[in-house]
């Protein structure tokens, strides 16, 4: 028997609650020093973590080092994580990204205080609303949204996100004035937000939810 819209909504809500409870339980086990829980966390999130590190660093060995550093960081600091305030996935990926930026920039140019704010990523990064977006939208639809960005805006966002570059570094890299870099970054970010929000407000099939 086919499910109606109400059934689907109920199923989705149930799955969301179950997922949140599962993550909360997993973190509780991590806090108690259960290394099997770390293994489960790895099984769940090592794919996106490694893919992000590899994209940023380009070398598998270095990317694996960063992923290892990130999972051990979660293991050592699980007691500081509050599942009420965000997702483990967002926290982990922020740690991966920061560690990768550290590798690319080296210690000659350390990141500023945002590093520390990123370190509590569930507070300032990857809002759960957008995690839901990621789950709802198919990858191809996200890619389609990204393709709608003008190439120069997308390039600027990618240099910032994957390259870990500052606005001055992007200006030097692209040869564009600093003001142009700022404008492209802001316009690109706002446009991407609009595109994704539109995708979120529409259903997975493109119809209005």
């Amino acid at each position: 028997m086919a499910q109606g819209p109400d059934d689907l909504a109920h199923t989705e809500t149930t799955e969301t609650i179950a997922s949140a409870r599962s993550e909360s339980e997993l973190m509780a086990r991590l806090r108690s020093g259960d290394d099997a829980a770390l293994g489960e966390l790895y099984d769940r999130y090592s794919g996106p973590a490694f893919a992000l590190a590899l994209r940023m660093l380009g070398e598998r060995g270095v990317a694996e080092d960063v992923v290892q550093e990130a999972f051990l960081s979660v293991w050592r600091r699980a007691s500081t994580f509050d599942t009420e305030r965000g997702s483990v996935r967002a926290w982990l990926l922020s740690i991966v990204r920061n560690a990768a930026i550290d590798r690319t920039r080296g210690r000659n140019r350390q990141r500023q205080g945002d590093v520390a704010l990123d370190d509590v990523a569930y507070r300032l990064a990857a809002d759960d609303v957008w995690s839901e977006v990621a789950q709802r939208l198919e990858r191809e639809r996200v890619r389609a949204a990204l393709r709608e960005l003008p190439s120069e805006q997308r390039e600027t966002l990618e240099l910032a996100y994957f390259g870990g570059m500052t606005q001055a570094e992007i200006a030097a890299r692209t040869g564009e004035p600093l003001g142009t870099v700022k404008s492209r970054a802001r316009l690109g970010l706002r446009r991407l937000e609009r595109l994704l929000r539109a995708g979120y407000e529409n259903g997975p099939d493109g119809s209005l939810a």
């Binding site: 770390l38 051990l72 500023q112 890619r143």
Partner: protein
């Protein structure tokens, strides 16, 4: 969000600051200005959260990749080694792992006095401090902000700053200036201490000018001291060096 109050002509407005900050594009004073805004505005923090979520969608465009099959085993082995280290008698008290002779000597405090007592002793070694009155006054304008002074030990004598607890959501931020540059592979780590038990909190590094604003992950409620040590990248589950920065959380500034 509108222009920042008292912003000079030509200065970026709040929207611009937050958007560029969310992409980690800012550095120096611009980054500090954004962090001041984040410290005093829950709305700004929510905006940065959302924008960082948007930027994170770029990661969905990455080609899937799998790490080598032995990575999981390496990680689990390292985690188990952590547990073994923590339970070994030699690790019952923190031991210096990278410090020069002076720091190594000071680590002896920890052996003799215990971690909390070492923290108190380090507080007594506070050097001359140049308090950042401008920043402190700005934060003091928030009626719900509770502020505690930070003190650098002899290894961080030029460090100034404060611990700010915001009443709206309990967010705690440590703002520091004059941080010594770290050796490669090392980070600063915050510890919250009640009695003699240091609880690990976030790790961070400063920028090239020694500035850092740090969001404390845990609640400071129930803790009497906030300490900062130098630790290997990734942080430690127990301190491996003496504190070089401390804040007495029982006495407001």
């Amino acid at each position: 969000m509108d222009r920042l109050p008292d912003a000079p002509a030509g200065a970026p407005d709040a929207d611009e600051l937050l958007e560029l900050y969310a992409l980690d594009l800012l550095e120096g004073e611009d980054a500090l200005e954004a962090e001041r805004l984040l410290a005093r505005s829950a709305e700004a923090r929510e905006r940065v959260r959302a924008l960082r979520g948007v930027a994170a969608m770029l990661a969905l465009d990455i080609e899937p990749a799998e790490a080598s099959p032995n990575l999981k085993g390496r990680i689990l082995a390292a985690a188990r080694a952590d547990v073994d280290d923590a339970s070994a008698p030699a690790a019952a008290t923190p031991a210096p792992i990278r410090l020069d002779a002076v720091r190594a000597a000071r680590a002896g405090w920890v052996d003799r006095l215990g971690w909390a007592a070492a923290a108190v002793l380090a507080l007594a070694l506070v050097g001359s401090l140049v308090w950042n009155m401008q920043l402190r006054d700005e934060l003091r304008q928030r009626p719900d902000a509770t502020i505690f002074a930070v003190h650098g030990s002899e290894d961080a004598v030029g460090v100034t700053g404060e611990v700010v607890v915001l009443g709206d959501d309990g967010t705690t931020i440590v703002t520091l200036r004059g941080l010594p540059q770290l050796e490669r592979g090392m980070v600063y780590q915050i510890w919250l201490i009640a009695g003699e038990t240091p609880e690990p909190d976030v790790t961070f590094v400063g920028d090239t000018t020694g500035l850092a604003s740090v969001g404390v992950a845990g609640s400071i409620s129930g803790f009497d001291t906030l300490a900062i040590t130098v630790e290997p990248a990734g942080g430690s589950s127990a301190p491996t060096s003496p504190p070089i920065i401390l804040s007495d959380l029982t006495t407001q500034s």
